[in-house]
Structure formats: C-alpha cells, structure tokens
C-alpha cells in the first residue's frame, strides 16, 4: 500500500484509484473519475465501501455541489504541478460549499506547494513521485503567518494585527 501524507502524518493509503476504464470492484473504498460518477452514480452508491470522486484540472466543483454528502474524501488531480486550477477547486469546496471531508491532492505535486495547498483546504497529499514524506511534511509549516483569508483562517491578517 502506498503511503500518503494525511493531516501532516505519513499513513498507509487504503483508497483504490480507478480510471474510467476500470471495472468497479464490489468492495473497498474507491476514487472514481467525475465521468464515472456521473454515469454510474446509483451503482456506486449501492455498493459496499466508500466512494470519492476525482476532479481533473478542468472539472468544475459546481458539478458535484449537490453530491458532497456522499463523499468522505474528494481527490483533486494535478496533471502538472504548475496547473493552479486545483487550488481554486479546493478553496471553493471549503469556502463556498463548506465541505468538511478530506481533500486530497493527487498526481504531480511538489512538497514546496504544501503550505499554500494546505491553506486552500487540502488535507491529504498523494505524490506521483517517490519522495521522503516525513521530510516533505516540514513544508506544510514554512510560514507562521499569512496575509490573506483562506480555508485555514477566516480573518485576514489585517483583522488580527496588533
């Protein structure tokens, strides 16, 4: 089982990531592409095991806004680490739709993005590259303050300055 970072800790990952061509297994917690969710929603809800949806860069969070209660976790895929769309997706899930479950970044991400990603509401990180996750966890806390409001702070710094 591959490891991931979850809330700053290295844990074993039990989620199975499916592509849109994979058959849906009867059991186990699975992550499916948005297209699979749209096409097989009833099947996915009827089976045993939890379901999570994978949003690609161009997928709009608005399309799953009414379904969020079904997902204990939402995965956001980065095809390239410089594709910043997933940052907006995560922040919208937290701020606009008040999503409380885990938000996981999957794919080409780098540890130097973790601080900003955490601020946007990501709680889990699954790297496509083999990296030292314990060391990477240090990057979650490189700054002790932030100017802006985000998923982690409702008040911008200017309301907290003293």
């Amino acid at each position: 089982m591959p490891n991931i970072l979850s809330h700053g800790k290295v844990i074993d990952d039990h989620w199975i990531l499916l592509s849109d061509e994979d058959a849906i297994p009867a059991q186990g917690d699975i992550i499916v592409p948005l297209s699979t969710w749209a096409a097989q929603r009833e099947v996915l809800l009827a089976r045993e095991g939890a379901v999570s949806v994978l949003l690609d860069g161009q997928d709009e969070v608005e399309t799953i806004a009414d379904d969020l209660a079904h997902f204990p976790m939402i995965a956001i895929h980065f095809a390239k680490f410089v594709d910043g769309r997933g940052f907006s997706s995560a922040l919208l899930l937290r701020d606009r739709y008040h999503y409380q479950g885990n938000i996981r970044a999957i794919g080409h991400i780098i540890r130097d993005q973790l601080f900003l990603m955490k601020r946007c509401g990501f709680s889990e990180f699954s790297f496509s590259a083999e990296i030292d996750l314990h060391a990477a966890a240090d990057s979650l806390n490189v700054f002790s303050e932030s100017y802006q409001t985000a998923a982690d702070t409702a008040e911008p710094l200017f309301r907290r300055r003293r």
Partner: protein, 558 residues
C-alpha cells in the same frame, strides 16, 4: 513610506529560510530543474544568456536611502558593482551566483526588501505613478492602495500558479503616469457623488505579442471591497485562463474571447457569491487597516515657502546659467506643495545602457535623497529616479552635485530618454540587441537645441516581441526582429501610454541596424516640416497620418 511591523518582517525572513532550503535541495539534486523553475522565478531568479539574473522588488517604486545603500553594497559584494532599473520600477542584478542568492535575499530582508514574486506566473509588483503623493493633479495618493494590494498578493495561496504572469497598476491622478491601461488589472482612483474614493476597474490590458488596451469592467468599486473583487477577477482567470498555449494565456486573451461584457458578468457573479458566503464581511477591508497603511505615507514637514519669491530666485539663477536652465526645464517639475519640486535624476546619459547605475552612483543618490528629499526616492517606469519634496531654493545645489555624478543629463521626456529593455546583450529571449541601438540614437541626437526643439518624444526599444521595452506605446517604437539569423528592427509610430492610450502602427519593412538611426532622422524631418506650433510628434502623426512618414523613410528603397 510603509515600514514593516513584526508580521511583515517575519514573513520575509521565513521566505529567505524557505528559499535557502530549496536552493540547497536543488544543489543536492533533490529538486529537478523543471520543479525548481517556478520556485526560483517566484524569488526573482532567472537564468539568462550569460549568467543568472536576480530581479529585486521595489514596491510601487518607493525606496529609502538606507535601502539604496544596501543595494549598492549588495551589487559590490555579490555582483559587478552596478544595477539595472527596469520598466516595472524594479531593479535587476545581472551577475549573481545561484549559491549566493539566499544570502542576497537575507541582506535585502535586513532593510525590508525582497524579490518575492518579481517573476513567474503569479501576481507581480504593483506599480504606480512616480509622482504619487506630490502630483499636482492627484485625486488621492495611490501608494497605500498599492501596499494593501502588495500584502494581499504576497503568497496568495490560491494564485501562485496562474496561467501566466499578472500585473496590476494603480493610477491616482488625472494624467496617467502608470500606464494602467496596459496592465492585466488597471485601477483608477475615482470619487463618487458623495466625495468618497473608490476604484474604476479595468482588465485585460498588456503589451507583449498581442498588445491590448484594457477594458472597463466596473466603474465604481467601494474601498472596502477592493480585495474581494480582486479575488473574484483572479479566481475567474485562474480557473478559465488558457493553460495550453503560453502565448494565449494572459488574461487579455480570455477577456477578448469572452468579450469584456461577459467577462465582467462572470466576475460579478463570482464576486456576489464571495460576498454572500462572507456573512460577517471578514474579507472586507476595515477602516482601521486603511488608516494604518495611510498613516505610513504621511507627508514630510514642509516649510512654509513664498512660492513667488522662490520662483523669482530660480529664474534669476537660470538666466545666467543655460545648462541649469535646461535641466530645470526638462528634469524638474512643480509639485502640489508650494515651494517644492520633484526632480528626475536621469539614468540615461549617452553611452550607458538606459537604467544602469553603478554602486558609487547609488550611494551618491542615497546621499542626495538624505540631503534634499527626506531620505526617500522613487524609481520610474521610464527607468529614471525621482527625488520629490526638494525645496526650490535647494535646486541649484542639488543640480551641481547630481551633475558631478553623471545624474543630471537634461533629457527627461526627450528623444534621448529612451526606454530600453536589456535585449540581446543579456536576455536569452532576444531577437536583437537593443542597448547599442539606444546608444546610437543618443549619440546621433547630441545637439541639445535640436533635441529640445523636438520637444516631448517617447522612444521605446524592445529586443523581441515580449515588449519589455514597451515599444508598442512609444511615440516611436523599435522592435528587434530576427531575419534569417540576422538582427533587424521594425519601426512603429503613434503609440502612447497615456490615458488616451494608443498602440503604435508598423511603419513598413524592418531596417538593418545601420539604417535605424537614419530612419529615425527621416521621421523627425517629416515631423519638423509638418508640425504646427506647439504640436508634439505624436499630435502631428495623429493629424497627418502614416503615409508621409512612410514615404520618406522608404523613398530610395522603392
């Protein structure tokens, strides 16, 4: 000027530590080139043709003498003893060592400076008028708003990986000296019927390959909503801007594709949702914060001066001293405080790359600022330095000292005050050199009587179509092009970066380097023959059109 409190200082200090760690991991082979690229760019570090280049932020162009001395020291210790002022009010070091960049950043942090987000696909330094706070035609000082935007944009978690770079300019006066209509977001300070200051918001301006003048999307935005509205614009751009083709990735392309009306609606709808979700209005700027930042930009203790008497004394001095009179007429302007002037130190003497200054000159500039302008100075997007708040009775002394250090060339606003990008001498993207062209033009037009007779004339040179030298908005623009491996130059005329912004039009086939100066001379001949009294080059062009210029330049070629 704005001074850091413990929060601001902590953030830049932590940034230095972060980049030190990243640089070490890169040197240890733990970060690939591809992955290190945005990390170093967002700390100002490019890899150029000859060496790395470090771009240091000068927020909205404002510097203290202490900071300038530090820059001099840095350029001596870590570089070749000179710095380059850019067209975005920043400075560049052309020869730093990658290994030493964290130390340079630490030195900068010790004087409340940084290189954060001076490059890369993120929100860049916010720019404004070099005469902010003293301009006669000012509606309100734009600098507090620039600082508020600086803080909001610094490490903004959502917008660190935009489709492309993103530039914001704020204009606080009647006349535009910030070229705000040529920015991704242009903000014009305006007053409503009740006398309250708010913002007229424009989006989608920019130079580069596809030059566009920005479109208005909101005529009056109340102060407290500035940051939430900027969030809305950036979010729409971050989500829907083109990420497949870097030449189509600027916000101007999205605005054009959707039309400004549709873009404005999308922003409005996003913004309404942001506000609706923020029930307690926590994202709104507070009056307390606006006041806190404004009080950093309080005016110095001006003396009460008899304006008429000061002017009379100056006139008397100028009468006996033609060089001083020339400098007064080109490099000095009145400011709104009576008895005081704003002085432009020219960084464009012939023979020096426009915007380059040595460490010694930087120290002299710092001394002049301490002696004459309350220890503050401003960089300009025309690549010069402004000392504001100079007592008129001090101008003669200031002139003599500046002249001794090569900082008093009386050419501001003339054909010799060329805006010029680093071009092929330094920049790996260049099609052609730009600095030697600037120099050839300055050498050709050395006769000051002729230059003054030409009056206000903006000549801008870029070494390629990325347009760092703003050639599209020069009255005369020169663009380096590549013709089968040779360096050629396309001439454009009729551009303007003022509020009546206009993009220059191509004159005709490009010219070889040798033919450029002659071509410019012919353009000027046509102007002199056709101008009406008091008419500038630009105005004559607008009246008589392109043909006469074109015919003259290409006469013997046809």
């Amino acid at each position: 000027m704005y001074t850091y409190d413990q929060y601001d200082q902590t953030l830049v200090d932590e940034r230095v530590a972060q980049f030190r760690d990243q640089t070490q991991r890169y040197l240890d082979g733990q970060i690939s080139d591809e992955e290190f690229l945005p990390l170093r760019l967002q700390n100002g570090l490019y890899v150029q043709r000859l060496a790395p280049m470090l771009r240091i932020a000068i927020p909205y162009g404002l510097l203290s003498s202490r900071q300038v001395r530090k820059l001099a020291e840095i350029s001596r210790r870590f570089d070749k003893g000179y710095v380059h002022f850019t067209t975005r009010q920043n400075i560049q070091l052309n020869w730093p060592q990658l290994e030493e960049v964290p130390d340079i950043l630490a030195e900068l942090a010790s004087v409340q400076m940084h290189a954060i987000q001076t490059s890369g696909n993120c929100i860049r330094n916010t720019t404004t008028d070099q005469f902010a706070g003293v301009a006669v035609d000012e509606i309100e000082d734009p600098r507090p708003w620039c600082e508020i935007i600086r803080q909001w944009s610094t490490f903004h978690p959502e917008f660190a990986f935009l489709p492309r770079k993103f530039k914001i300019a704020v204009c606080g006066s009647e006349e535009d000296r910030a070229a705000f209509l040529l920015h991704d977001i242009g903000i014009q300070l305006v007053k409503n019927d009740r006398g309250e200051t708010g913002f007229h918001i424009y989006v989608g301006g920019g130079l580069g390959r596809t030059p566009v003048i920005a479109s208005s999307i909101r005529e009056f935005l109340p102060q407290k909503h500035l940051l939430t509205y900027l969030d809305a614009i950036l979010r729409v751009y971050n989500r829907y801007g083109n990420r497949d083709n870097k030449y189509k990735a600027r916000i101007k392309i999205l605005v054009k594709a959707w039309t400004p009306e549709v873009f404005a609606q999308r922003v409005e709808s996003e913004w309404q949702q942001i506000i609706a979700g923020d029930k307690d209005g926590l994202g709104e700027l507070t009056g307390r914060e606006i006041e806190r930042v404004k009080t950093c930009f309080t005016l110095p203790n001006y003396k009460i001066v008899d304006q008429a008497e000061a002017d009379a004394q100056l006139a008397a001095l100028a009468q006996d001293n033609i060089p001083f009179a020339r400098w007064l007429s080109r490099n000095v302007r009145d400011q709104k405080q009576p008895g005081y002037s704003a002085v432009t130190l020219s960084l464009k003497p012939a023979g020096v790359a426009p915007g380059d200054v040595t460490d010694r000159q930087l120290e002299k500039i710092a001394d002049l600022a301490d002696q004459f302008s309350f220890g503050e100075l401003r960089s300009t997007h025309n690549q010069n330095i402004v000392l504001a708040d100079v007592l008129k009775s001090d101008l003669f002394d200031l002139w003599q000292l500046a002249k001794a250090d090569g900082l008093a060339t009386p050419n501001i606003g003339t054909i010799n005050d060329i805006i010029c990008c680093p071009g092929g001498d330094y920049c790996s993207l260049a099609n052609a050199k730009s600095i030697p062209v600037a120099e050839a033009i300055q050498r050709k037009f050395e006769d000051l009587d002729y230059v003054y007779d030409l009056g206000d004339l903006e000549l801008n040179i870029s070494g390629c179509m990325n347009a760092c030298g703003h050639h599209h908005v020069g009255h005369i623009g020169i663009l380096g092009v590549d013709k089968k491996g040779e360096e050629w130059y396309q001439i454009q005329i009729g551009g303007s970066a003022s509020k009546q912004a206009a993009l220059a039009k191509v004159l005709g086939p490009s010219l070889s380097r040798d033919a450029v100066v002659e071509g410019i001379e012919k353009l000027l001949d046509v102007y002199i023959e056709h101008r009406q009294p008091e008419e500038t080059f630009l105005a004559t062009y607008q009246r008589i059109g392109m043909d006469k210029f074109k015919e003259r330049v290409y006469a013997e070629h046809s």
